[in-house]
């Protein structure tokens, strides 16, 4: 499978262009890095590819399917700030069940403990919440993952574990992975290819 964004341009209402004529291709099983200074539209690209925003110009396709896509989205987005990606009034178990029956093996690998399921999001740390968001994004229908600065708030050991886990699961399941990060060392360590956004 191939996720492709062609000549994407995006802006808010009549504001300045956040991105202009940006094209990107991610193949199944590929790990692609996306880096660049803040404010250059990395998150916008990530959100466009995940179907959260619509481009003003250009189109996004998965093989011959053209966005918008109905039903469970094969491209799942993992956000930079997990506390803003969960419903604060739902318990963790319900948050996780949002994408269907959780895969117990994945929960175990991510170190998600069963007694956390009854907790509220505010009772978990950022790293713990992020692991829930990762588990939620990986389902049988997931073909591509967009990881938008997902470990910037985590300690080195947790970070290394998450990336070892994600790169392995993406290879095993032929999931294409877009890694948005500021950290060139990290990208160099895990990515097959890296796209660098340049300053305006």
């Amino acid at each position: 499978m191939r996720l492709q964004g062609e000549n994407l341009s995006f802006r808010y209402e009549k504001g300045p262009w956040v991105i202009r004529d940006f094209s990107v291709t991610i193949e199944s099983g590929e790990i692609l890095g996306l880096s660049g200074p803040s404010g250059q539209g990395k998150t916008t690209i990530a959100r466009l590819l995940a179907g959260y925003e619509k481009p003003n110009r250009g189109r996004i396709t998965i093989d011959d399917q053209v966005y918008p896509i109905k039903g469970f989205h094969p491209v799942q987005y993992i956000a930079q700030h997990p506390e803003r990606a969960v419903n604060p009034r739902w318990r963790m178990g319900d948050i996780l069940a949002e994408t269907g029956e959780p895969d117990l093996a994945i929960l175990e690998e991510l170190g998600i403990e069963s007694h956390w399921m009854d907790r509220w999001p505010g009772e978990l740390s950022g790293g713990e919440l992020q692991r829930f968001c990762i588990a939620r994004a990986i389902t049988s229908g997931t073909r591509f993952l967009i990881a938008d600065e997902i470990t910037t708030m985590l300690d080195a050991i947790t970070q290394a574990r998450i990336w070892h886990f994600l790169t392995r699961i993406c290879r095993e399941r032929s999931i294409g992975l877009l890694v948005v990060s500021h950290d060139p060392t990290l990208l160099g360590r895990i990515c097959d290819n890296i796209v660098e956004l340049e300053g305006k």
């Binding site: 808010y12 660049g36 200074p37 803040s38 404010g39 998150t43 930079q80 700030h81 506390e83 803003r84 991510l110 170190g111 403990e113 007694h115 009854d118 009772e123 978990l124 740390s125 950022g126 790293g127 713990e128 692991r131 600065e149 910037t152 708030m153 985590l154 300690d155 080195a156 050991i157 947790t158 970070q159 290394a160 574990r161 990336w163 070892h164 500021h182 950290d183 060139p184 060392t185 990290l186 160099g188 360590r189």
Partner: protein, 283 residues
Amino acid sequence: MESKEIVAPRQEILLEVRNLSVSFVQYEKGLRQRIFHPIKDLTLDIRVGEVLAVVGSSGSGKSLLAHSILGILPPNATQAGEMIYKGVRLIPEEQKRLRGKEITLIPQSVNYLDPLMKVGKQVRYTAGKGKGKIIQESLFHRFHLPATAGEKYPFQLSGGMIRRVLISTAISGGAQLIIADEPTPGLHPDALKKVLKHLRDLADEGRSILFITHDLMAARSIADRIAVMNAGVTLEIAEAEKFTGKGEGLIHPYSRALWRALPENEFFPVADDFGDECESERK
């Protein structure tokens, strides 16, 4: 009268935290209680003109340390141990008097900004009356924020820009102890380097920075000493230079594991449990 004008010698201790513990009572079903103990035994001291970094896994109680010093723990929290600031015990009245003035916070979450107020105004607010605008503009300049950013609302700025706004709000009032709670995630290497340099400069001006971070490389680049925390306990406080090679100079195995896990080093995920959450249930 507090002697604010006296500049203390460099090695003088500004804040001392002794055997701090923080616990929460949570209600499960009905009246069934559960005690949750995120900070068990935390001891550290921060000197005048020093950057003391506190590093550790997520959930190790780093943010709660910041909240304890400021006295902004939620009402269901119980705190024990001692905190001494400039030789005086930090009691709640003292904390209330000092926070936001002498002791300020650069918060972790980008949600700390008011979503309905333009960011320039938020920085001017903490700078105090009169010179607010000049201070805000010079801070934006210092952190390479475009002048037009002041007229924007938080949602219109990128994550990295919001970080720099948060740093501006914390230092606009002229603080002595700045608690920076994860101020760097989301910053591009160049911007990161500059922000770190600014924190270092603030310390060199005679302020103290408690730099709470999970970014060991960042900590090592500006801190004088690094305190390593795990599961609510300070494991070791080491000079920043000790974090080098394979971490042979470090005392605690966890400090070494943290150092080795960096992508710059071996990117080695330790085999034991994923992070270490501090649970009362787990012994």
